[in-house]
């Protein structure tokens, strides 16, 4: 910071809020030496996380994920497309991440946030995990999205809206996306006389459809679900699940994504003033392992809650 160093005992004289705004870094360092963060969390703990499934009735699958006050709403709309010649029996997933102006004071209409396309790209890398020509399938088996080989397949449009941006955007977005896929119910469809796929509606469901493609609503099988944790590095401290304030003051961010079979899906560190040494990387991975168990449990609970209904 360009500010001169304040005398050490200034903190006892000025108001806490004023000190926090004037010397944010010193304010944080004082907390860190006590191994606590201003919001009362220990360094390695993530904020309270909740998942609500089925938040949007107009989509086939949806979920609202909250990590602290960071809120993400993900919804999947299923449409029909003609599959490409290269993969006649595979469907497709299109992922888009939006930061509407409601989510943060820095986003304004007509001037989208710089970070939105980056998060969007990271999400599609993590979820579809396609590697150039031959595809190492990721969480979803695209063959399950096929309807009529070479003729019709599902196109899953996953749109994630950030409703409130308070740090760790990627973590919350990934969690909401995964939850939306776990909630997704593919509608029962049939092929009509014009060669188009139509949804079998409840009323004429009783009628025997000669060209039923999907006889009943079905769920996708999700294998190796990815979970992520973002950490902030500052000196020797590692802070898990940073808030927006923490991210802006201590600029070095590391995001680790592990899947349920403990494979490393992504280790993402875009620059930052602090260098990550092997030990710090291992610590971040260990924190992510721990966090993965928590998230898996939260997701399972959300899903079992849906089955009861």
């Amino acid at each position: 910071m360009g500010l001169p160093d304040a005398p050490g005992d200034l903190s006892s004289e000025v108001d806490v809020d004023a000190f926090r705004r004037l010397f944010p870094l010193r304010f944080y360092e004082r907390h860190l030496t006590e191994s606590i963060r201003p919001d009362g969390r220990p360094l390695g703990r993530a904020r309270d996380t909740t998942i609500a499934l089925g938040a949007v009735a107009s989509a086939e699958g949806s979920a609202l994920a909250k990590i602290g006050s960071t809120t993400m709403l993900a919804a999947i709309k299923m449409e029909v497309m003609t599959p490409s010649m290269d993969s006649p029996d595979e469907g497709c997933i299109a992922i888009d991440f939006h930061m509407p102006p409601i989510c943060s004071p820095i986003v304004r209409p007509g001037r989208p946030a710089e970070i939105a396309p980056v998060v969007s790209k990271q999400l599609s890398d993590t979820i579809s995990r396609h590697v150039i020509i031959f595809s190492v399938s990721g969480m979803i088996n695209l063959k399950e999205l096929s309807l009529v080989s070479g003729k019709a397949a599902w196109m899953a449009y996953l749109d994630i809206y950030c409703l409130d941006a308070d740090g760790a955007l990627f973590d919350a977005a990934l969690l909401s996306a995964v939850a939306a896929f776990s909630h997704l119910q593919i509608p029962a469809v049939s092929l009509n006389d014009d060669g188009k796929i139509v949804v079998v509606s409840e009323e004429n469901g009783g009628k025997l459809e000669k060209d039923a493609v999907n006889k009943e609503r079905m769920k996708l099988t999700l294998k190796s679900i990815p979970f992520s944790l973002t950490c902030v590095l500052h000196k020797n401290y590692i802070l898990a699940d940073p808030t927006a304030e923490e991210e802006s003051i201590m600029e070095t961010v590391v995001t680790v994504v592990l899947d349920s079979s403990s494979q490393l899906v992504s280790l993402y560190k875009p620059g930052g003033p602090v260098l990550a040494y092997t030990s710090a990387i291992q610590d971040c991975v260990a924190l992510t392992r721990q966090r993965m168990k928590e998230l898996q449990k939260i997701l399972d609970e959300a899903n079992s809650g849906m089955e009861v209904d």
Partner: protein, 192 residues
């Protein structure tokens, strides 16, 4: 890279598009005064409001009327855009957009210009703009799910969000949409 970017194939929604012959909601000699969802003619859907939905904003509110779900955030008063002329009174800037999944058929998620200007018209009379000269108050609304009469819900919700942000107003603004059913045609109008 899921489906090479830029070459998104054309898709269509499998849901049956509006049936060619839509049954009239009410018959002309319908006299029981009950709507298909069990409401009387003068009854609103069950409503839910909550302020403080978005932490990052100066003020915000969430509103739910049946299936219509809306979030409104208010930012400011803050510095006006550089290109703006000097102004003795504050400015109000409104923007309403829909999510891509708000409607039964996937939309573009772009700004709804008509709604934005109507929201501006409904709010500017209620806000005491003289209290924040030279600055702008931004009111941004996002329709999460569109279940009918989106605009009145946005307007009511926005007035609540303004109050949550501590912007001085003459009063809250409530809004409802009405439909006039005659034997042949429908007409919709709004009341501020």
């Amino acid at each position: 890279m899921a489906g090479k970017p830029g070459t998104t194939p054309t898709t269509y929604s499998p849901s049956p598009t509006t049936q060619k012959t839509r049954r009239p909601i009410f018959n002309e000699n319908d006299v029981d005064w009950v709507r298909p969802d069990g409401r009387g003619f003068h009854q609103c859907r069950p409503a839910f409001f909550r302020t403080g939905a978005v932490n990052a904003a100066s003020g915000s509110a969430y509103a739910e009327f049946g299936n219509t779900k809306v979030i409104v955030s208010v930012f400011g008063p803050r510095e006006s855009k550089k290109a703006m002329m000097y102004s003795d009174i504050g400015r109000l800037n409104c923007s309403v957009s829909h999510t891509t999944f708000a409607t039964p058929v996937r939309g573009q998620g772009s700004e709804h210009k008509d709604f934005s200007s109507m929201l501006h018209k409904s709010l500017e009379g209620a806000i005491i703009l003289e209290t924040f000269p030279k600055t702008t108050v931004d009111v941004f609304a996002l329709v999460l799910e569109s279940g009918g009469s989106d605009l009145p819900v946005v307007i009511s919700c926005a007035s609540l969000a303004l109050a949550d942000a501590g912007i001085l107003m003459h009063d809250l603004v409530a809004s409802v949409s009405l439909v006039c059913i005659s034997s042949k045609h429908f007409r919709t109008f709004f009341r501020g």
